[in-house]
Amino acid sequence: MPSAGPVAGSRSFLSRLREGDEIARMVTFLFAASVVLVTLLLVFDLWQGSVLSRHKFGFNFFRTSVWDPIFDHFGALPFIYGTLVTAAVSLILAVPLGIGAAIFLAELAPARVSDTLEFFIDLLAAVPSVIYGLLGVFIVVPLMRQYIQPALKHTLGFLPLFQGPAYGIGFLTAGIVLAIMVIPYIISVSREVLLSVPRDQREAALSLGSTRWESTWKVVVPYARGGILGSIFLALARALGETMAVTMVIGNTPAISASLFASGYSIAAVIANELTEATSNLHYQSLIELGLVLFLLTFILNGLARLLIVATSQRGAGMGHA
């Protein structure tokens, strides 16, 4: 329909309404706008709901690390630290594994193997987080205490990261459980992105004499970089906000320690644990403010992620042209 464009522009509003275009436009606009609206409402509500604690603590909320519901001292630092550390550990473990698996499934595995495995990966992504929490408590924690932590202590014990008593729960365990949870996201999205890289790209590389691995690693993966980064940020978002699985294995101690064996706490976990029994107003509102902090944290990290994608995709394009 080559003439559709100009005709649509010249039709009257009423006729467009009658034909449904305008209705479709308005309805879909409403749907799109509701996303923004819900976000704004959420921020507004968190902001309103934390008046007391924001006024009482101000910026100190971010700088102090005492969390005492009885004497009404609230500081967010240990929770911010715990959230960031567990998310970082999980990504450090999940990114290489996830992308490696995605490359195998998209580039190297026969189609039938790839599709079958994809089915299992989607299944893993749909498992409720409390199940991962149970897996953590009953399998990962004992394994950590008996084998992994002593081994780490023995080999890398000179690093402050791997010192102190090893109870099996703590930052490292939480990070590992989170990694298990986010790997399916990374694999699933990265695989799709890699599969959508045009065949020409591979063929061009191969015809220039590169090996299969060279074409994959130097051409296909850089081409799909934006999408792969997208999958990592999806994983990061999930890791930052995960509640149930983390609280079951992190130890729930609002403390900052250099050691990954130590027990800590995350923002989402403390909100879930304490909100229902928060009897003092200040305690309740401090938890709401923590919600605001988590929102901010997600917002900032997402913004950085966008910047990173823009920066790298431009460099990628530049390299492509050169």
Partner: protein
């Protein structure tokens, strides 16, 4: 297709009308600890009074206090009594007060996992406070060993495990520690969630139990009812009279009876560290929170009727669910207080 949809609508509408007509619906929310008891009670009461349906959501004591204060539920329930500030907030909002009614009793017990030790350990108040303050760090510390002659305790570090989320269990435990240790009172205090000096937080009773079972040389605390139903062995605690008592329903009721003599008129009383040789010291009431004034007289009468039934016939169900019954003196006093509801 249309006919089916139409018929469904009619059925739904009729069901809705019948539902609205058949039962006076009363809503409550709060404490999780007495939930099995309450749901049994509401169920039995509904069987006897088909026109009254009581819905209860176990959202936690803090949530119960908050919701009843905001007026979103007809009554609340809590494991720790409301403090003066909360009572004032309620009175300011509603122009009338709120009443506490003890319903049943529970207890909290210390349990541990020490490889090679299977006997029931004896704990003095000083030992428990010291362990949870982080001052007693080894199992063979004299504060523990002196009360457990003949048991070989290892020279290992003690791992403290506590509840991660706010809970009535923690309220009772910290209330007890506050009574027996001045240092605990000034440094930590009592509440549903506190700033723990040491230890790991387990999520829920099952989280604490799991962590203790998984971690050699650890100690934690759970409700008596949870320990009983999961066959977890637990230790004895020295009471105010100097006797080591193993928690049991009788020992909990004894603690309540010991406290009954000085029961204040508003029933806001802590029975931890209660007097009496047979009293188990880490015991607690759990309360219903019922507004003094109802605008809906049908609801008022239904709630009054229920409370009277729970205090009389309802108590008969308590022990089969591992809750301790209220002492007679307390029941008598409460029955008088029911008339304050207007």
């Amino acid at each position: 297709m249309k006919r089916i949809a139409g018929m469904l609508l009619v059925v739904l509408a009729v069901a809705g009308v019948l539902w609205a007509d058949s039962a006076l619906s009363i809503n409550g929310a709060g404490a999780t600890f007495p939930y099995p008891m309450y749901s049994k009670w509401f169920d039995e009461y509904h069987k006897k009074n088909a026109n009254i349906a009581i819905n209860y959501q176990s959202i936690g004591s803090g949530g119960g206090i908050k919701q009843v204060t905001e007026g979103t539920v007809d009554f609340g329930a809590t494991d720790g009594p409301m403090n003066d500030e909360q009572l004032k907030a309620y009175a300011d909002k509603h122009g009338s007060g709120i009443l506490h009614f003890p319903t049943v009793l529970g207890a909290v017990v210390p349990f541990y996992n020490i490889p090679g030790v299977s006997a029931d350990l004896n704990f003095t108040p000083e030992a428990l406070a010291g362990i949870f303050l982080g001052k007693i760090t080894k199992w063979n510390d004299p504060a523990i060993a002196d009360a457990n002659k003949g048991i070989k305790l290892p020279a290992e570090d003690i791992v403290v495990v506590h509840r991660a989320e706010g809970s009535g269990t923690t309220y009772c435990w910290t209330d007890y520690l506050s009574k027996v240790s001045d240092e605990w009172k000034t440094k930590v205090g009592k509440g549903g969630s506190v700033n723990w000096p040491v230890g790991l937080g387990g999520k829920g009773s099952e989280g604490v139990t799991g962590t203790v079972k998984n971690t050699p040389n650890s100690i934690g605390y759970v409700e008596l009812i949870y320990a009983e139903s999961n066959k977890i062995p637990y230790g004895n605690v020295k009471n105010a009279a100097g006797v080591f008592v193993k928690a049991s329903l009788a020992a909990v009721s004894a603690a309540a009876a010991g406290a009954a003599k000085d029961m204040p008129d508003d029933f806001r009383v802590s029975i931890t560290n209660a007097p009496g040789k047979a009293s188990y010291p880490i015991s607690t009431f759990t309360w219903l929170l019922i507004p003094e004034k109802f605008s809906d007289t049908a609801k008022r009468d239904a709630i009054k009727g229920f409370v009277k039934w729970a205090l009389a016939d309802g108590q008969g169900y308590a022990e089969s669910l591992s809750y301790a019954k209220l002492p007679k003196e307390v029941v008598a006093k409460e029955l008088k207080a029911v008339d304050k509801i207007q």
